[in-house]
């Protein structure tokens, strides 16, 4: 049984228009640093990071990469959604041409997330997969990392896969071990099955980079990230 509902995607996409600001000013106990230490000055933003790989993969020009690092998240979709979508389609076009097709022959295909969200019934006109290139790049252009305080952390796991997607879960944070690159590739190039362009049938391998975790020093206690090599 799929646990997701299409309404949640819309809720996530449009929450920013529906919710007014709030604040929580609970600072806990305060331990001031020594008064002699100088922390004065104004600090101006030079780098930004939310989800891994967004700026690297989806911004295609040096100017946009620099601009991305100086853009606040609430302005990111307006600035970067269209270039991200163009970049996504250009990468599909590049493979079309390299494989001897025309650019128009190969486009992004609405992805596995949309198949999860539209329930166990097959995708059809009456049960559409809504994660179009525009929807996907709208979500990804809001470059923030979501972490659920009250649920186990899973970057993305399609569970049993199509058609049931039993146990599917995700978007609840990023652990040190997570294969974030493969997840990103699956969402960008994997199509509705997650396995489009999987290196078979004469098509390129674009849904895994073929590497897994090599960092052997990760621990189960704070600070979790392992000792340097």
């Amino acid at each position: 049984m799929k646990i997701y509902n299409i309404k949640f995607l819309f809720a996530a996409l449009f929450a920013s228009f529906l919710v007014v600001g709030c604040s929580n000013d609970d600072d806990g106990d305060i331990t001031p640093p020594p008064a002699a230490v100088d922390f004065s000055g104004t600090f101006s933003q030079v780098d930004h990071l939310g989800r891994p790989g967004i700026n690297t993969v989806l911004n295609g020009t040096a100017d946009n990469k620099n601009m991305h690092n100086r853009t606040i998240p609430s302005n990111m979709s307006a600035t970067f959604q269209a270039p991200f979508e163009a970049r996504l389609e250009a990468l599909h076009d590049a493979y079309a041409i390299a494989l001897g097709f025309t650019a128009a022959d190969v486009d992004y295909e609405n992805n596995i997330l949309g198949d999860i969200l539209n329930g166990p019934e097959p995708t059809s006109e009456s049960n559409p997969n809504i994660v179009s290139a525009t929807v996907l790049t709208t979500v990804l252009s809001q470059d923030v990392l979501e972490v659920a305080p009250d649920f186990p952390t899973t970057y993305f796991n399609p569970g049993a896969g199509a058609p049931s997607f039993d146990g599917a879960i995700g978007f609840t944070g990023r652990k040190l071990q997570d294969d974030v690159i493969d997840v990103s590739l699956i969402l960008l190039f994997g199509g509705e099955t997650g396995a489009r362009f999987n290196g078979e049938g004469g098509f390129p391998q674009l849904v895994t980079d073929g590497v897994s975790l090599t960092a052997g020093n990760i621990t189960t206690s704070f600070p979790y990230i392992g000792a340097p090599e």
Partner: protein, 225 residues
């Protein structure tokens, strides 16, 4: 017409210098500098825990000639947490080094948001000696664990092949290699880590794509002007 556009895009891809995911060396304005963010992790440390862990990596020695090894006293690291889903920070945690110690501030609700910051010295959280190889950690009176120091870079990615995959040709159109080669195997980074009781951050009303309540978080580096 379409092909002209495509080849123009390909030309840009081919001409671009090498950029690396996750965020290592991501843009020419910050690449290889002391303020270059490498990775950001946020997770529940154990099932059912009432804490959230944040780990921020800056700098990397994954490639030669990158600045690596010392936290810069002119670089302020900020973890931003949006509770209500408007993509504006409701809580901020700051970290900045001074003379071998990493000082932390917050979580606090910022009076202003945007691209410029000051250290919020009225919201001091605590401090920890910057570690060398062996981790030195401390826990504040309000239950926040703190760490700063060099660590093993946990990220893994065949970035060498990735840069080739971005520019396919009729002679090389097979995509990634399986197995590939982890470019980050053996690399180190500078990490700060915090384990924060969720009660200090507040309950989120924002939801993720599947409807679960989430903090929407991001990290920035900010250089003293």
């Amino acid at each position: 017409m379409k092909k002209i556009k495509i080849f123009a895009v390909l030309g840009i891809i081919l001409a671009a210098p090498i950029f690396i995911a996750a965020d290592h060396v991501d843009a020419p304005g910050v690449a290889g500098s002391t303020a270059d963010l490498a990775d950001f992790y946020a997770f529940e440390p154990t099932t059912g825990s009432d804490n959230t862990v944040f780990i921020v990596d800056v700098q990397s020695n994954v490639l030669p000639d990158l600045t690596y090894g010392t936290f810069d006293e002119d670089v302020l690291i900020e973890i931003n947490i949006d509770l209500d889903g408007d993509l504006v920070e409701d809580q901020v945690i700051q970290a900045i080094p001074r003379d071998g110690t990493m000082y932390f501030f917050g979580p606090f609700s910022p009076s202003t948001t945007g691209l410029d910051s000051q250290v919020n010295t009225s919201s001091a959280l605590g401090s920890v000696e910057i570690s060398s190889t062996t981790a030195i950690t401390t826990t504040t009176s309000n239950g926040v664990s703190l760490f700063a120091g060099p660590r093993q870079d946990a990220f893994y990615f065949d970035f060498v092949r990735f840069n080739e995959v971005l520019a396919p040709s009729p002679e090389d159109n097979s995509g990634f290699n399986v197995p590939g080669t982890d470019t980050f195997d053996g690399a180190n980074t500078l990490s700060i880590a915090l384990e924060v009781p969720n009660s200090l951050l507040g309950a989120p009303t924002a939801v993720n794509v599947i409807g679960l309540p989430v903090y929407k978080t991001w990290v920035t580096t900010n250089r003293r002007q």
